[in-house]
């Protein structure tokens, strides 16, 4: 159908969808009057029972850990899809370096700082806002600063399939291995099997921090694989002058 027809049909359809959505949302409890029991139960028991101060991460990695494993594998599958689409281009070096000293020095210092902050966000996931998913993206942005602030060649030392694929597999498989370790000692899959520690410190939460680090490593490596594929397939030919 032509573009004009499509847009007029869209107006009608979207108006109908809007009416249906408003009708559906009007049946929800009022804003601010959350009714469901699970939120209140989790708020009450997560800190005394699992000794984790951050209830959201306790939910993500311990109480609903199976769901997070599924999300991690969605990430893995989407990255595999991108790699299948884009890999196969030439593997060439490109002469591209930042010439301004200020940017190189400042960027280089920023890389160390960003990496440290990323590690802190992952490690303190059960104490303050943070966790594996956020920290993984922050770590990946620290590494991609090598391309942004230094040069393409420095980035290529890290942004390679031979380096990143094992790390990504380690992260994704680590999640499953931790779950299987619980299974091997007679407990259900992904049970928290270490003794809980002191809430509010780094030693808290039993074996859930292992899962936290596995998720952080996997997200970091997945983001870096995405950046590698995009930069290699599309920026290198531009820099080299070919189309």
């Amino acid at each position: 159908m032509s573009r004009r027809t499509r847009i007029s049909v869209a107006w009608v359809a979207l108006a109908g969808l809007a009416v249906l959505l408003v009708w559906a949302y009007a049946g929800l409890p009022d804003f601010g009057h959350y009714r469901g029991p699970y939120g209140f139960v989790l708020d009450r028991i997560a800190t005394p029972d699992r000794h984790m101060a951050n209830v959201v991460n306790a939910t993500t990695y311990d109480i609903r850990g199976f769901d997070t494993m599924g999300e991690e594998f969605i990430l893995f599958a989407a990255v595999v899809g991108v790699v299948l689409l884009l890999r196969g281009e030439e593997d060439e070096e490109a002469e591209d370096a930042i010439r301004s000293d200020l940017v190189r020095v400042g960027g280089g210092l920023a890389i160390g700082l960003l990496f440290l902050v990323g590690l802190w966000i992952v490690a303190f996931g059960f104490v303050s806002p943070g966790g594996g998913f956020q920290g993984g993206v922050a770590l990946a942005s620290a590494v991609v600063m090598l391309f942004v602030a230094v040069s393409y060649r420095a980035w290529r030392r890290v942004g390679q399939e031979t380096v990143l694929d094992p790390i990504e597999g380690l992260g994704a498989g680590g999640f499953v291995v931790v779950g299987l370790a619980a299974l091997a000692s007679g407990l259900p899959f992904l049970t928290n099997f270490w003794g809980p520690g002191i809430p509010g410190t780094l030693w808290s939460g039993g074996s859930a921090p292992l899962v936290n680090w596995a998720a952080g490593i996997e997200v970091c490596a997945a983001m870096l694989v995405l950046y590698t594929e995009f930069l290699e397939a599309h920026v290198v030919p531009s820099i080299r002058g070919t189309t």
Binding site: V137, A140, L226, F230, V235, P237
Partner: protein
């Protein structure tokens, strides 16, 4: 934050979300789209903080300041260079 300060902040945040979403859809120039998308990410961070969800705000912050602009700019560069 007491309740008295929270309600005006929430209204401001919701108004900005509506404006940001409409602005993204109406922007057709690609470079401007990357910038407006970055702004929309920051507006969502404000909204999530006002909702009392710092973890979600942190997640949206790291994603919309690094990952989205990088991927969009690489795609835009490739589309423009290949003319």
């Amino acid at each position: 934050m007491t309740l008295a300060t929270l309600v005006p902040l929430q209204s401001v945040a919701f108004a900005l979300v509506v404006l940001g979403a409409t602005a993204i859809v109406l922007t057709h120039d690609l470079l401007r789209l990357a910038v407006v998308n970055g702004f929309y990410g920051l507006i969502l961070v404000l909204l999530f903080v006002v909702y009392g969800a710092p973890d979600v705000a942190l997640s949206m912050l790291v994603v919309s300041t690094v990952a989205y602009p990088l991927l969009l700019l690489v795609a835009i560069t490739r589309i423009r260079k290949g003319k």
